[in-house]
Symmetry: C2
Subunit: 336 residues, 2 copies
Amino acid sequence: MKDKLVTMAHGGGGRATSELVQAVFLPRLGNLELMELGDAAVLNLDGQKLALTTDSFVVSPPFFPGGDIGRLAICGTVNDLTAAGAVPLYLTVGVILEEGFPLAELKRVVASMAEAADEAGVKVVAGDTKVVERGKGDGLFLNTSGLGLLRNPPPRWSQARPGDRVLVNGPIGEHGAAVISRRSGFDLDSPVQSDCAPLNDLIGTLWEEGLGQHIRAMRDPTRGGVATALAELAARMELGIRVDESALPISPAVSGVCDMLGFDPLYLANEGKMLIVIDASVADAAVDLLRKHRYGAEAAIIGELTDEFKGVRVRTPYGGHKRVDVAEGELLPRIC
Amino acid sequence: MKDKLVTMAHGGGGRATSELVQAVFLPRLGNLELMELGDAAVLNLDGQKLALTTDSFVVSPPFFPGGDIGRLAICGTVNDLTAAGAVPLYLTVGVILEEGFPLAELKRVVASMAEAADEAGVKVVAGDTKVVERGKGDGLFLNTSGLGLLRNPPPRWSQARPGDRVLVNGPIGEHGAAVISRRSGFDLDSPVQSDCAPLNDLIGTLWEEGLGQHIRAMRDPTRGGVATALAELAARMELGIRVDESALPISPAVSGVCDMLGFDPLYLANEGKMLIVIDASVADAAVDLLRKHRYGAEAAIIGELTDEFKGVRVRTPYGGHKRVDVAEGELLPRIC
């Protein structure tokens, strides 16, 4: 690392974040569970397999179309546990408040958390509140940690092989587009809503219908978007991913925001989407199943694994290819 | 609650914090585990009893005599699990960095975390890093959550009865005094060091030597100090606690800082102390055992439970009494 000071890019979820983790955290705190760097750590506790995860939320602004920081914090942690193949059960919440933050807004955030926790069927069992002086924070920051029970069988990364399909449960880039449009003042005339939602019930249906054993890997494409998540999936599976751009579900509203502001929806954050790598033989059945759920109505197969190259290639509608990789620099600060 | 805005007192760990939790968090997020408001939530997961806890750390300054925010974060979470009667096993760390924070300082903090985790025998298995713009944070904030396995038997609050003794494992008020003296510039000529330490090994010896079954309750007296923790213990046990002021271990250095600056050591934060309520018949044996450990060398019996009154009364050396209660207002902001 050449940097001497923390930059916004270190929090972007892309290459700089990864370099920070590799250079500063892993050399000292490294252990088998942490080295996995999955959405959640998988732990063996007296024979029981648990998943444990943590996330801080500093989204700015805290209220945005389709959600707020409270809903985001609950859904983010539920989805991290879900991506690890776990059933989310218990959450903790740490709140860092800035002196002068309106209590009425805090109540709104807590109400959102409660509503999202109820929807996801998880319990907030422990909490902590700290206050910092005016000018030493930014309204409120949340941290949520979550504990879940690993499903049986869990996603089997080692079984990933060329031909496996990559699914997504709906249109991409909505959370990022919603926050950008709120920040830019576009939200008045733009209908983009954050997709912020708990996905444990949706993904649970795959196990209930016997498809869980065919799942190789999952990842929720938050900071850094689908592009970064796919690149990380490919790297960890040591295979390539071929994506068909025309198969990517993207709403006209998100396309509009991207065209106006020069963003690529592949790099915009999602907070209610899951990338699922699954055996080709059951991919269509999985899509059909996901489509029956409110959070999977526009589920689609977007690509497949290959051993012809490493990394991620996107086939454009005009027959060309573009490579995508983990996000570089600071695309969108404080998106979650 | 009459306040409309968050005040520093809401983060003090005393009455205002409790009112905030009662007014804002519990009405919406309340459930049996959260309502207990212990140092950690105790969960039943497929027959296994686990403890889960979370804490955010915003201590200012982040480096202080005897420790830093990294050691504090690990020890604080280890001690919360320990106080709940659990064996701490796995921790998560969420980091909120302010743009421009020196990476060399971050490395120091991470090294402290690693050292404290090694000492406590716990693993940091998951992490998250966010960055906020310059002026929207204060260097760095940490959140640690922890998972532990409940000891058998756990502390038995329901067995608490008049005559039970209250123990502390050493001199009180050291963390608070260390941070104050650093802030006031007194640390150059004052030898006060924070007591910041992981207590799981110390407390574990009580179980190893068969005294665990006699423990009624534990609490680590952090924000709000021994006074607040005793008041909370008394309230939850629905009994009174009589404290003998002359039995309270207080170092001359802490007394000095308190005399100079007008603080009461009973209200100063501790980060390496545990209050233990235990059956009178084994109290002396417990003190002897604690004294064999580096973190218990000055352990002492400081009081006993009574049904003659509710709350906490401190017997002064001159034969009088003073009542102590949970901290009011904002005594010492950002002490942990």
